[in-house]
């Protein structure tokens, strides 16, 4: 395998194969809590991606200096620093997103994806690979949150991308694409917690199905038919 190829693989790993939310099942708390609207999902995803990228780079650069016994406090300190930066930036420039995400923005500090990638990847690999991993995982996280947010918002409120004007200032205020006409009652359970779990479970099943090789699928079907499920 050429060097180029392995770099690309690190980057794309987080998209689907090792999608942090759907395959590694990390960071489910912000996933369920912030995906009531697609635009919140995008905002949360981008904020986490920024923190993930920066913390991966710094932790990877310091990996030989940080003593093994106190590595977790060190990682948390680095992550908390970047989260503070993000929080201040969001508060200053996108206040609508800050009020929408609420407590989940500072809680990026304890997002398992970031600590998980620091522990699993950045502490063992060089700076470039860690940066690529951070970007890949961040993109995977953002895509998942956006897809989940879209499904929940369309079914639960009948609109799509409402609140995007907070992220992109050139859009008119109160921007929203109406997908389902207002005459049809929205299925409001989708925007509440149970709907979050429904969509999460179905997307997880889809991701597992997409990433399982065909031969293994056949085997699983046979096993299911043989014994009881």
């Amino acid at each position: 395998m050429s060097n180029q190829n392995s770099k690309l693989k690190i980057l794309t790993n987080g998209f689907l194969n090792e999608n942090p939310v759907l395959r590694l099942v990390l960071g489910t708390c912000p996933t369920l809590a912030t995906t009531t609207m697609a635009s919140n999902g995008i905002g949360m995803g981008l904020a986490a991606t920024f923190v993930l990228l920066c913390s991966n780079i710094v932790i990877s650069a310091l990996r030989k200096i940080i003593p093994d016994q106190v590595r977790i406090p060190c990682y948390i300190t680095v992550i908390a620093g970047f989260v503070s930066v993000v929080q201040m930036l969001v508060k200053a420039y996108v206040p609508s997103l800050d009020s929408a995400l609420g407590v989940y923005l500072p809680l990026i500090v304890v997002n398992c994806i970031i600590l998980g990638r620091a522990e699993m990847f950045a502490s063992k690999n060089n700076v470039v690979d860690s940066a690529l991993d951070g970007i890949g995982m961040g993109i995977g996280f953002t895509i998942t949150l956006t897809v989940m947010g879209s499904i929940r918002e369309i079914l639960g409120s009948g609109t799509w991308m409402s609140g995007l004007d907070g992220l992109l200032p050139f859009l008119p205020e109160g921007f929203a694409i109406r997908v389902i006409p207002e005459s049809i009652d929205p299925f409001t359970i989708m925007t509440s917690a149970p709907g979050g779990f429904f969509v999460f479970g179905i997307l997880m099943a889809a991701a597992t199905w997409l990433t399982t090789p065909k031969a293994k699928k056949q085997k699983a079907v046979e096993a299911a038919e043989g014994g009881n499920a």
């Binding site: 009652d185 299925f187 409001t188 359970i189 989708m190 149970p194 709907g195 429904f198 499920a229």
Partner: protein, 314 residues
């Protein structure tokens, strides 16, 4: 000789009852209530029932075909789910919402978990709850009976229970008041329940303990026990929803615990909660703990002094 000796693992005594037969009997038991609801709410209730039944059967057939599973043709379980779901909906509900409910009941609750026998909760109950939470306004839009008496005509009687006098017992019994399709007419539900008990489809343990617990608790809370028993979804829930084989305990002791807990949760929600009715949530909650009740009340095997861990737990 070989034909007379059964050389397989237990059980060796089988009953002639099949799933199909049992489910058909449940359908028969539900018919009087359906007829009553047509009298109370008009032809709309029959159409709604037909739609949910058709949707449930089609979703079951379609999902099994799609997944290459054996199609459970004619085991009537989807028909029962469809009827029970319709009985839990107000007659004015838009038809597409009923189809959404059928999808949740059959595909999400039943088939995704492995089909009949593997569903973690009663499909119709989850369908109802998902609709009640998702379309709260529509689901609480109880229609006026076509020839109803005004005192009770607006909401479920549980909402106005304080203003009820004892003269309204007959109205509650005949079901001439607002509510979902199949919960109002207590007398036909009772009739269906007794039919099921007589034909040994259900054991009387769950309904009797459930209703008795509700009656005792309503006395404790200073409520009229007869009104509490006859109104809301209690009769429907106690006889038809809580007794589902898959989601109720197998032993008598387990059934006793199950019935009492159902009654306690129902009364707690009715008396202290913000909602008027708690039957469906009580049944869902208790459905989820059935596996634990089953494990805790398992019979000791004959001839074994100390029960060891073992045996195929299903």
């Amino acid at each position: 000789m070989a034909n007379k000796l059964i050389v397989t693992a237990a059980p060796h005594i089988t009953s002639a009852d099949s799933t199909q037969k049992i489910m058909q009997r449940v359908c028969i038991a539900l018919v009087p209530t359906l007829i009553a609801s047509v009298f109370i709410f008009g032809i709309n209730s029959l159409i709604l029932t037909a739609i949910t039944v058709a949707a449930c059967v089609l979703f079951e057939y379609g999902y099994c075909k799609l997944m290459g599973r054996e199609v459970p043709v004619g085991d009537f379980s989807a028909v029962v789910t469809g009827m029970l779901l319709a009985f839990n909906l107000p007659a004015t509900l838009p038809w597409w919402m009923a189809i959404v409910g059928a999808f949740i009941a059959i595909v999400i609750v039943k088939q995704l978990f492995g089909g009949l026998g593997y569903n973690f909760a009663n499909p119709a109950i989850v369908g109802r709850i998902a609709l009640a939470v998702g379309f709260a306004g529509r689901m609480a839009d109880y229609p006026k009976p076509e020839n109803g008496i005004d005192a009770l005509a607006s909401a479920t009687p549980l909402a106005v229970v304080d203003q009820l006098g004892s003269s309204d017992y007959l109205t509650l019994l005949l079901g001439n008041h607002g509510g979902v399709l199949g919960e109002t007419c207590a007398i036909t539900l009772l009739l269906g329940g007794i039919y099921l008990i007589v034909t040994k489809v259900i054991s009387p343990m769950i309904p009797v303990t459930y209703l008795a617990t509700v009656a005792v608790l309503s006395l404790c809370f200073g409520l009229d026990p007869i009104v509490q028993l006859l109104s809301g979804g209690l009769m429907l829930g106690a006889f038809f929803m809580a007794t589902d084989y898959v989601t109720s305990p197998t032993t008598d002791k387990g059934k006793l615990i199950f019935g009492i807990c159902l009654g306690v949760i129902t009364m707690l929600i009715r008396h202290f909660g913000t909602m008027n009715e708690g039957v469906s949530f009580a049944i869902l909650l208790m459905n989820l703990v059935v596996p634990y009740i089953d494990v805790l009340t398992r019979q000791d095997r004959l001839g074994i002094a100390k029960a060891k861990k073992g045996g195929a737990a299903k």
